[in-house]
């Protein structure tokens, strides 16, 4: 998603944006159709996938915009998701060399950790530690949701390789 240096980079960037848009639409079109405490977080997967393909600054902007979108649609703790998403995208972009290897399952593990961390950080930033049932949520449902996100990431990377995996040089 950075500035393309060659035609192939331009095509890769276009595919990356397309993949991001598809996940964004999926998050808001499919997410509300599913019920229960464990729902797939397509938006966080999109942010993480995009962050590892861009510079940390751009990743921070993507994270900020995505968090702002979440905050705008659920404004009870406006700004909390923006802070967490910004930090997470920035960190993911810095850590891409270490974690975002060619191994799909490592990437899935990275998404799993990112999603769980996101839930923990969001609960902390939004000051919901006093909420009843938060512990069960963070220790039971949140890991399950993170696991679902990780599995989804693996599936997406396997099925839509050209959209979500950066071109190897």
């Amino acid at each position: 998603m950075s500035r393309p240096s060659s035609p192939s980079d331009g095509a890769s960037l276009l595919r990356a944006w397309l993949g991001f848009a598809l996940l964004l639409v999926a998050h808001f079109a499919i997410g509300p159709l599913l019920s229960g405490p464990v729902t797939p977080d397509f938006l966080l997967i999109a942010v993480l996938f995009a962050s590892v393909r861009v510079r940390p600054g751009v990743a921070a902007v993507i994270g900020f915009a995505s968090g702002l979108l979440l905050d705008a649609l659920a404004p009870m703790h406006f700004g909390a998701a923006a802070v967490v998403c910004t930090a997470l995208a920035f960190a993911a972009s810095w850590l891409k060399a270490a974690f975002f290897s060619e191994n799909v399952f490592v990437t899935g593990l990275f998404v799993f950790a990112g999603k769980w961390l996101f839930d923990l950080a969001l609960a902390g930033v939004s000051g919901r530690f006093q909420t009843p049932g938060l512990l069960a949520h963070l220790l039971i449902w949140s890991p399950l949701a993170a696991l679902l996100a990780g599995v989804l990431a693996v599936v997406l990377l396997t099925m839509f390789r050209s959209l979500y995996r950066p071109a190897t040089r």
């Binding site: 940390p56 900020f64 700004g79 923006a82 802070v83 910004t86 930033v125």
Partner: protein, 363 residues
């Protein structure tokens, strides 16, 4: 190169810092300001996404409430059917109330006991028996017309055969009294099983479609004037000397609810006009026509008497009344006039007009 990398790193850090600061600023903003910003974002930049989410939520809500909606619509349909049933029963009861008011006395109201289906053996069980004065052969009617006849009587119950029963017979006539016959079940197949036949109608009495058939009062069971049905069509039968008509029953099987059992059917009783006001209107018209005819008849007889006196005065004795009648355009021969057409209660204007034609024209 390293300087560029360091500057890029500083730029990235700066951008991230700005984003974090903005986010924290949003977090610590007053609630009203946060809501305003969120609302403005929802209605401008993120409006498509918000619309998409709303639509998905609506779909989800529709899916969630689908069983409840189906259950509710089923309940509404069931209630509608019940309401329709109550409305039908109400209409039947109102009709019966009107009928009982016109009958004034001499009947026992009864309900149909739902012990057996109407179409099993074409009988009905009524919750009125000999204790209420019900006896065998008493007619059973509703506000619409004739239902049948009491066949068996218990103390508190009675069983009636309906018009669809193979043994059912009733002496019937057209409403204007020009055609008489016997009504019996049609005994056809399928839906035609629920029709009646008017048999033995004399060949000259032709009935139009829609003519109302009522009981004639002949016999000891059914009083005169109970509506039986309406003529649907004429049936072709081997009996060339008589006509047979297909009759649609006035009381349909589905409409049999509360009924009235008419008491003392053996006593002479005329129920003309009880079921249909049309009948009474028609009888009134007949009376007017008959009175008009009687005036004309009286005038004719006066004229005839005057002519006769004149002829007598000239000594022509061979001229008889019949020959004079034959000469007069308004009077047919005595032998060409059917007996029933000169009855006071059955003479109609059209019958007089018909008989006033030249003898021989009538077929």
């Amino acid at each position: 190169m390293s300087r560029t990398a360091r500057s890029d790193g500083r730029l990235d850090n700066g951008i991230a810092l700005v984003c974090v600061v903005l986010s924290l600023f949003g977090l610590i903003m007053p609630r009203s300001s946060r809501d305003r910003v969120a609302a403005s974002l929802r209605t401008t930049v993120f409006a498509p996404v918000a619309a998409l989410q709303s639509r998905a939520a609506a779909v989800r809500a529709a899916v969630d409430t689908r069983p409840e909606t189906l259950r509710a619509s089923g309940q509404v349909a069931a209630r509608l059917l019940a309401v329709q049933g109550v409305a039908d029963e109400n209409a039947t009861l109102r009709q019966l109330l009107g009928l009982s008011a016109r009958l004034e006395s001499g009947f026992v109201p009864a309900d149909v006991v739902p012990s057996g289906a109407f179409d099993e053996n074409f009988t009905l069980t009524l919750n009125a028996g000999s204790r209420s004065g019900v006896q065998r052969f008493f007619p059973v009617v509703t506000g619409a017309g004739l239902v049948g006849m009491i066949e068996q009587v218990d103390v508190a119950r009675s069983h009636a055969i309906t018009w669809a029963h193979p043994d059912f017979r009733v002496s019937a006539m057209s409403e204007d009294g020009t055609a008489f016959g016997i009504v019996q079940p049609h005994l056809g197949r399928g839906a035609e099983r629920w029709l009646l036949e008017l048999r033995g109608v004399r060949f000259r009495a032709k009935l139009d479609t829609g003519a109302v058939i009522v009981s004639s009062g002949l016999g000891a069971t059914y009083p005169r004037g109970i509506v039986i049905g309406t003529v649907m069509a004429e049936l072709s039968t081997p009996e060339k000397w008589a006509r047979t008509y297909l009759v649609k029953p006035a009381v349909l099987p589905s409409a049999i609810g509360p009924v009235l059992v008419l008491l003392s059917p053996g006593t002479p009783r005329d129920l003309n006009g009880v079921w249909t006001t049309i009948a009474s209107t028609d009888s009134a018209a007949r009376a007017v026509a008959a009175s008009g005819d009687s005036i004309a008849r009286a005038a004719a007889f006066d004229e005839l008497a005057a002519r006769r006196a004149a002829l007598d005065s000239v000594g022509i004795d061979s001229l008889r009344l019949d020959s004079l009648l034959r000469l007069m355009p308004g009077f047919p021969r005595r032998d060409s006039m059917p007996r029933d057409t000169v009855r006071r209660d059955t003479v109609r204007r059209d019958s007089v007009l018909r008989t006033s034609r030249v003898p021989g024209d009538e077929r």
